[in-house]
Symmetry: D2
Subunit: 304 residues, 4 copies
């Protein structure tokens, strides 16, 4: 397989206009991140409203992203769905469209066990030649991928990486140490935005920060400082980004509506997105919540 995917890999937030994908905004957005030096792009992830998207929309987002990126960096395609057959269908289409890697969660909605989750990833491996990342996001899937499972699937060649959005930093440290011991088969990407420096201390191979949609350059600077061993700079960038991440601390809204809602509001305020429209049934941030996002952007020196 190709060289492992490392570095800053933002999960693409998508612009909408009257319910449709807003292509000019998408072009501005991806170009801005490419200019900032990102190392990969994760399409159709949780922040990319994959759960809100039918097959046509998923394919459209992936196609447009591949067209705009044009081979300059690897594009990872999320194939998130409830159970194995439905995930396989997404995977086949993503591979046909030209994705460079696949990102899949454990099955969800119907309850599963450790054996079923392992079998799920093995079935995916049998049907693709692309690198396969396990996406560990218990807040959505309500299942934590265990270290023994991830390491076994890594050693077998079933998995080539993990996108860790579990928030369990102790497990992540142990995973990184054990992965090293068995020859580093897994590329370990943290889904954190606010404590990426801690994940780098733990040996992360990169990050998938939603906030990287807003300030990709800062995450790239932080990555470069990490590669250079300049921990003081890693930390200083993180402190600034942690402050910036306060855009999600809006009132009366929670979860996806607050997180992705704030990212879209910020991208509109920065002139990247034409609209901060959200997918139904979620409302776009407005009024004092929108003003809060603008205020935090200004404090971070990000007003356009």
């Amino acid at each position: 397989m190709n060289p492992p995917i490392t570095g800053v890999v933002p999960p693409l937030v998508v612009p909408l206009k009257d319910g449709a994908l807003d292509i000019p905004s998408l072009e501005r957005h991806i170009d801005r991140m490419l200019e900032a030096g990102i190392h990969g792009l994760f399409v159709n992830g949780s922040s990319g409203e994959v759960a809100f998207s039918g097959d046509a929309r998923r394919d459209q987002v992936l196609e447009e992203a591949l067209r705009i990126v044009d081979g300059r960096i690897p594009v990872l395609a999320g194939v998130i769905d409830t159970e194995t057959e439905r995930v396989l269908a997404h995977m086949r289409r993503a591979e046909a469209l030209g994705a460079n890697a696949i990102v899949a969660t454990a099955p969800f909605y119907a309850l599963q066990g450790e054996a079923e989750v392992a079998e799920h990833f093995r079935i995916l491996r049998q049907e693709t030649g692309l690198p396969l990342f396990a996406y560990d996001i218990p807040v959505c899937v309500h299942w934590k991928l265990s270290n023994p499972l991830l390491l076994e699937l890594g050693a077998e060649g079933v998995l080539q990486g993990v996108k860790d959005s579990s928030g369990d930093d102790v497990a992540f440290r142990w995973l990184a140490l054990a992965n090293e011991r068995i020859g580093h088969p897994l590329s370990l990407l943290t889904g954190h935005e606010v404590v990426v420096d801690g994940a780098y201390m733990s040996g992360a191979d990169g990050c998938v920060p939603g906030l990287g949609n807003i300030d990709p350059a800062a995450y790239v600077r932080q990555w470069n400082a990490y590669r250079a061993g300049d921990w003081a700079a890693v930390r200083a960038e993180q402190d600034r980004l942690a402050d910036l991440m306060r855009i999600v601390q809006v009132k009366g809204v929670q979860g996806f509506g607050a997180g992705v809602g704030a990212f879209k509001a910020a991208l509109k305020a920065l002139g990247v997105f034409e609209s901060n429209e959200m997918p139904r049934p979620v409302k776009a941030l407005a009024g004092e919540n929108y003003a809060w996002v603008e205020k935090v952007l200004r404090e971070a020196g990000l007003d356009s």
Copy 2:
């Protein structure tokens, strides 16, 4: 709209053969339940492996069920998926195929709030003329539909019923009392198998018991006793059914694999299903687990 849906409405468990829908087994199965006197059939529910099924399979199951039922009882179609647009797509196809009612959960995977869930059901209502049931199943959706929300949507005419698989019997009692107070807009169906008698005490309008796939006649007898006010008979049937439900107490398997796994094993043991095959990545019950199901069936006098 039509008369409210009440009585015994089993959630259809589907027979597989080499990954395909096994039509002859499906015909035997539905015919057996119709002969037992069930009052409705819920297709593409959690027990009907909806989470494992793509559009084509969902449509096939619904079409075949509608063909076999042939208008004798109402067929309720589950339109379960992560978010609103995807649910709408399933709903439109189910309506086109001739379903008599729609059953939808709150959105899941991406996190939501009370306002988003209400908006979700209102959007569904705008696009269908069929009765709409809210499916409250926190073990899968990780969200509990609140009584104020259900009552508000019932009073508005957005919802015509609730399928309650929350396990929260206190909330269900209060829901039933409040529903009565506002004119009984909601048909309240319990998803319990083991304490349906308690739900009838609370005023349930019917039940959607997975175990009704195995012994539909007993649930029909219980319903008739309930309508006749013969509580001793309601209770005696329940004690027997609670014993029968022990088929799911298998070893080393949990959740969907144990529950639906045991239902399929029982239907095979009873000669209704040709195979107890499960959808990937779940394994069919075998060995001592299969023997356990057979033993419990015999104890309940259900060996064919």
Copy 3:
């Protein structure tokens, strides 16, 4: 041992005045419940603010309750505390004061496993000759006592009963059926207030309803109807009590503050308690919340 404890066994809510136990109110309260015909009294339970009480207060409440009850009905003493040695200390004092039975939870705060919980109850059994009830209240203890454990300890003679406040009515039905099968070693008391009729359908040997502090006569009537097989009366009493239980649906307060807060407000409104004072740091219900309690009491015909 003595005959098993069955019937209506309210968990004593305690009146406070300037932080001290208000003895005249306590006498009025217990006398009122005795006149209503309750079959037992559970002292120092969760509703009896045991978690707020040091040794002296626990002993005072138990002593006063024993004095007032004066042997007319059995008094069960809660010995709730974090771990085994501390529970043992409470148990020894309760036995010395003359309690008729002991009620203990699994250990809490420090995490435990199935083996540790079993060992905990076995240690208690070794040090008392009194009947021992396991108190299953996961909302406080964050551990569910499993049916296999309860049945094993019942068969061994370690436990003589269970107070089930788990809200898991499916497990309770199965427990009741299995308890019957092994000779009914356990007296099974439900902690429900709102679906006691369902628990009676399941074969409960009695109830421990917090709401029994407010309307003990109704729970006694319901129990008598249950013993007489008059299920319609069981159900009608329950519907009325479920309506009455809406006193806890106050605004801006949750958990203990809402539940016990509403019980104390009702007892004050009924002229039984002089004050509805709550233990620090919890505030007594006031204003519109107090008015709500009064309104629900009036609707239930309970205004004094």
Copy 4:
């Protein structure tokens, strides 16, 4: 008040012999940590089996610790109990015995809300002149102390510090940044063992690592490297300590029994404790689990 408490503050693990406190082992243990250069000692914490200890044992442990430490470093006393009055009683005794600071959790067992938790800490503040640390340990207390609450109580002078065992590293980073903004009223100590380096990146003022009982010198070296800005050394120490922490990965035991069980086994293997006895009903690690602890110690170069 005195200078803020910072640096390495291990939570004291206590040696038992036939159920009694083993004083000679305790002296060896505290002396060994003092020689390693620890900056404070946290007595009667979760790892110090506070939940298993009645008043007499709590007082004995605190008295002996104070005697052995003899004023060389501050001794923080845990006053952990279910509700306010009981916590106050422990606090008064701890202050009388000479503790240098108090550590209290939110109330637990009975459910609480944000207002009740705030009131709880304010009541404690009114009755002590000692520095007061809030102990945030949701795995035991089942409540997360929110950042707005902690910051408000810090600004008011109610709290002087936080011991964060929440595992929520994102909240911790935001807490540290906000604490700085308001003048650093709170001393922020992380309860992590495995990702202390990440907590230092976030600006922690120290750590309270259970594993500091086993290898206090390493945590002191890491602290000194942190103060010197030598992040590579901070990280290298952490990698070694993360490997050492694998002593808790024993089989068939979980939670307290595994964690503190492994610490006691290690201290016995190192010749510090005479016995690895655990408080009832928990069993001491033995057999292959004990051998595992010895193996990990050897790999870390810690065999005595």
